[in-house]
């Protein structure tokens, strides 16, 4: 057990150290592009978005939940790419030739991606607060938002790792990513509520786990516990299924790679 903690700690610190070496990318990791969505989209569509349709006092408060989950989506889907680089340059081989538990490399990556994602969500909620968006459910609500984000993030990171272990090159990886991420965003309730979508899109969006995560987080920000609780229950069930599915797939891909 002590050995397991030692190796996971060291591997996680490697990701942290790498990030801190790249000062540039560290700044851009925390002040991420998603913030621009919140600030520009949120204010841009202020007049265009009908308060009646979005069921929120203003568009930016409606959008906050979407931006939080989009951050989880981006981080999760990109979460495997560093393992892909490790696989390509032989570093993974070096790690696997040491007497570490086979899951440690992957677990360290989960830990790192989840921690960064939490920090980013806090930054987003902070910026939203500057624009007057305060979560109706307070600090406990923020904790639940982080929890839902993590539930979704675990599955996404697992998918990302599965792709990383399966593709031949990182070119392929980024093609698959680009292909996945935009449809997932547009076919969700991130930008527009399901009720305002064309029927076929709202049907598809219902199969998108992202929709369920957003629909649980949104009332935590906008209205309060009464509306949020049943949806939180729902999202926990859906995410349990989603995560189990993704983790199973990624475990298979991992086992295939390391023989």
């Amino acid at each position: 057990m002590a050995a397991y903690v030692q190796e996971i700690g060291a591997l996680t610190m490697r990701w942290v150290r790498r990030l801190s070496r790249e000062k540039f990318s560290m700044v851009f990791t925390l002040v991420q592009p998603m913030l621009f969505w919140l600030i520009f989209f949120g204010n841009l569509f202020q007049r265009a978005a009908d308060a009646q349709v979005v069921q929120a006092p203003n568009y930016i408060s409606f959008l906050a939940a979407g931006v939080v989950v989009m951050t989880v989506l981006n981080n999760g889907l990109a979460g495997g790419v560093d393992l892909l680089f490790d696989k390509e340059n032989g570093f993974l081989e070096r790690l696997l030739s040491t007497p570490i538990h086979r899951t440690s490399v992957v677990l360290s990556r989960f830990l790192f991606v989840m921690t960064i994602t939490c920090l980013q969500i806090l930054v987003i909620l902070g910026v939203a607060a500057l624009f007057g968006v305060r979560p109706a459910t307070g600090l406990l609500g923020v904790a639940v938002i982080l929890f839902i984000g993590m539930l979704f993030g675990v599955g996404l990171t697992a998918i990302s790792m599965a792709i990383a272990f399966s593709v031949k090159s990182h070119g392929d990886f980024f093609s698959v990513l680009g292909f996945l991420s935009l449809p997932l965003i547009f076919l969700s309730s991130a930008l527009v509520p399901l009720s305002a979508m064309p029927a076929w899109m709202s049907v598809l969006a219902r199969f998108n786990p992202m929709t369920w995560a957003i629909d649980a987080i949104r009332p935590l920000i906008l209205s309060g516990w009464a509306e949020a609780l049943p949806r939180i229950g729902m999202v926990v069930v859906i995410m349990a299924v989603f995560d189990a599915f993704c983790l199973y797939g990624s475990a298979r891909a991992f086992r295939r790679t390391i023989g």
């Binding site: 002590a2 050995a3 030692q6 190796e7 700690g9 060291a10 591997l11 490697r14 150290r17 790498r18 070496r21 790249e22 340059n89 032989g90 570093f91 081989e93 070096r94 790690l95 696997l96 030739s97 040491t98 007497p99 570490i100 390391i258 023989g259």
Partner: protein, 327 residues
């Protein structure tokens, strides 16, 4: 286990691996003795890395089995991992970490106490002569320095057996010689070395014993001298004038079947003839050249070299610039 008084460090028997229908290796069996430098010599794609990856437990064989210091590489993989060090073929280096940070990371992965890791790092950095650069990010390292760091990483676990995959690939002559020197010094410390290479001179001068691998199979096994002696006969190399390459084939057919001639391999502008006793064969060969109306530009006679062994065993040169043998 003892074989003629020598301890067996690695025992591989019938190893096979197939990747999506491509046979990487096919029924490899060999032994590595404790304290020797054992080489896997073969061209690109021969299956050297695959063999090494099986022995270091990161690839599971589809057939056969192997033991490292008595431990099965599949069933007791974790035991094996504690006993070995590995230097991969690629420069497996994280460019954002310093040399020292690589070694500290590995110390934790081998579950060493911090004090022990620090002690070993100081010693290893001195050995590979990387003390001054140890605290610079690896992205500022030259190729030779990266290779030294690679080697240092392989040594950190204090291995009984060190596996090196093409340790001098792409290095300049100076760095190659230095790596050879380290490898010999490690042997003196009692470390068993298993390395792959596709350099004939490296195999010849560095390895105590070799397995020549081609197309996933072992073609020969033995010390460089045994392999050369096993070939039998010496080599007469003929070079014809640039304008007379047409006569090479004529000369080859003249020579075929003559007494003393064991094998002939044609090159762009000449022939390599393996003969039983050169002093008897030489007049016969020259006569044949006369009959074939070949003007010889250059005649060379030498004891078999490892490249002759390789050609004789595999039917082709280790790198592609030569055509095949006509046995």
């Amino acid at each position: 286990m003892e074989v003629i008084g020598r301890t067996v460090a690695i025992e591989a028997s019938g190893l096979g691996k197939v990747y999506d229908g491509v046979t990487a290796i096919d029924g490899l069996s060999f032994q590595v003795f404790a304290g020797e430098i054992f080489g896997l010599l073969g061209p690109n794609g021969a299956g050297k890395s695959t063999t090494l990856r099986i022995l270091i437990t990161i690839v599971r064989p589809d057939a056969g089995h192997a033991t490292v210091l008595g431990h099965d590489v599949v069933r007791e993989a974790d035991r094996v991992r504690h006993l070995i060090g590995y230097v991969p073929q690629e420069r497996a280096i994280d460019r954002f970490l310093t040399g020292r940070e690589h070694l500290l990371l590995l110390g934790d992965l081998y579950h060493l106490p911090k004090s022990e890791t620090r002690k070993r790092i100081a010693e290893i950095l001195r050995l590979v002569d990387l003390e001054e650069q140890a605290d610079r990010p690896a992205r500022t390292y030259s190729g030779g320095m990266k290779r030294k760091l690679d080697l240092a990483c392989g040594l950190l676990p204090n291995p009984k057996i060190l596996f090196l995959d093409e340790p001098t690939l792409g290095l300049d002559v100076q760095s190659r010689l230095r790596i050879w020197d380290y490898v010999r010094r490690l042997r003196e410390r009692g470390i068993t070395i298993v390395m792959t290479t596709n350099y004939l001179d490296e195999a010849d001068r560095l390895c105590d014993r070799l397995a020549i691998i081609d197309g996933g199979r072992i073609k020969a096994l033995g010390s460089p001298n045994e392999l050369k002696a096993g070939l039998g006969g010496d080599i007469i190399s003929l070079t014809v004038g640039a304008s007379e390459t047409a006569c090479v084939d004529r000369l080859a057919s003249e020579l075929k079947g003559l007494p003393f001639v064991r094998a002939i391999s044609t090159k762009q502008n000449g022939l390599d003839i393996r003969v039983e006793s050169p002093e008897k064969a030489l007049p016969v060969v020259l006569e044949a050249a006369n009959r074939a109306a070949c003007r010889l530009e250059f005649i060379d006679y030498h004891r078999p070299r490892l490249d002759d062994v390789f050609v004789a065993l595999t039917g082709h040169a280790i790198r592609e610039e030569f055509p095949k043998t006509d046995e």
